[in-house]
Amino acid sequence: MVYHTIYITMLILLSFMLLACLIRAVRGPLIADRLMAVNMMGTMVMVMIAVLALMLNEGYLVDICLIYAMISFLAVVVLSKVYIGIYEEKHRKEKDPKNNGVKEDMSDGNT
């Protein structure tokens, strides 16, 4: 009974914080702001899943939590690389609009 009360309190507090993270993700002026807020939301959702695993007494939910951690990390890394690539593409087009960045040497890409 005591455990149940503690778990419910944790879940309520974390869900309010999750809402605040969502506000940050919507308001963030830059792309990095939004990605950072999504990363924070992933962290809080991981804690919520771990609390649920103990509350429902289902051990396999912790495996889902581990997979969630890996996918959240992968999402941040891949989205950062994608946005750096998009920015460089746009920049190259602005610099010389003639050849539209079709044939360029890829050796100087520092990503």
Partner: protein, 131 residues
């Protein structure tokens, strides 16, 4: 419930409370600072310390079994992955923001930074001597 059970509940609740307070501090910092690279400093704290204390509290509640081992695995994975994702995010910001020098000082190479630090030290020594 025996006295040991109550001690376990108290220690676990203390860790959980610590984690929630750190998450709250993280949120406060993220809403308080004005620029991404400052906000990232607050956000990385919650990613490592906040989730670690929350999960340590849950490990104490769970007792000695396989669930505890898996939670420990999550903590170790996060300790490796969170600094890497912070680094990648700040690199995204440094690569895409053209007005970066409005927010922080930029040194093109390390020798410029070393030179400025040397100058600052020399100026401080000079000031100390005149005093």
């Amino acid at each position: 419930m025996g006295i040991l059970e109550w001690i376990k509940i108290m220690i676990g609740s203390a860790f959980l409370l610590c984690g929630v307070v750190i998450f709250f501090t993280e949120l406060f910092g993220v809403f308080h600072f004005k620029y991404v690279l400052n906000r990232m400093h607050a956000a990385a704290m919650g990613d490592t310390l906040g989730i670690t204390s929350c999960l340590i509290g849950l490990m104490i509640f769970s007792g000695f079994n396989y669930t505890t081992l898996k939670i420990l695995l999550i903590i170790i994975f996060l300790w490796f992955s969170s600094p890497v994702s912070s680094h990648v995010l700040s690199r995204l910001e440094a690569a895409t923001n053209e007005n970066l020098s409005e927010h922080c000082e930029i040194y093109k190479d390390l020798s410029a930074l070393e030179q400025e630090l040397k100058d600052r030290e020399a100026a401080e020594e000079k000031g100390a001597n005149t005093l």
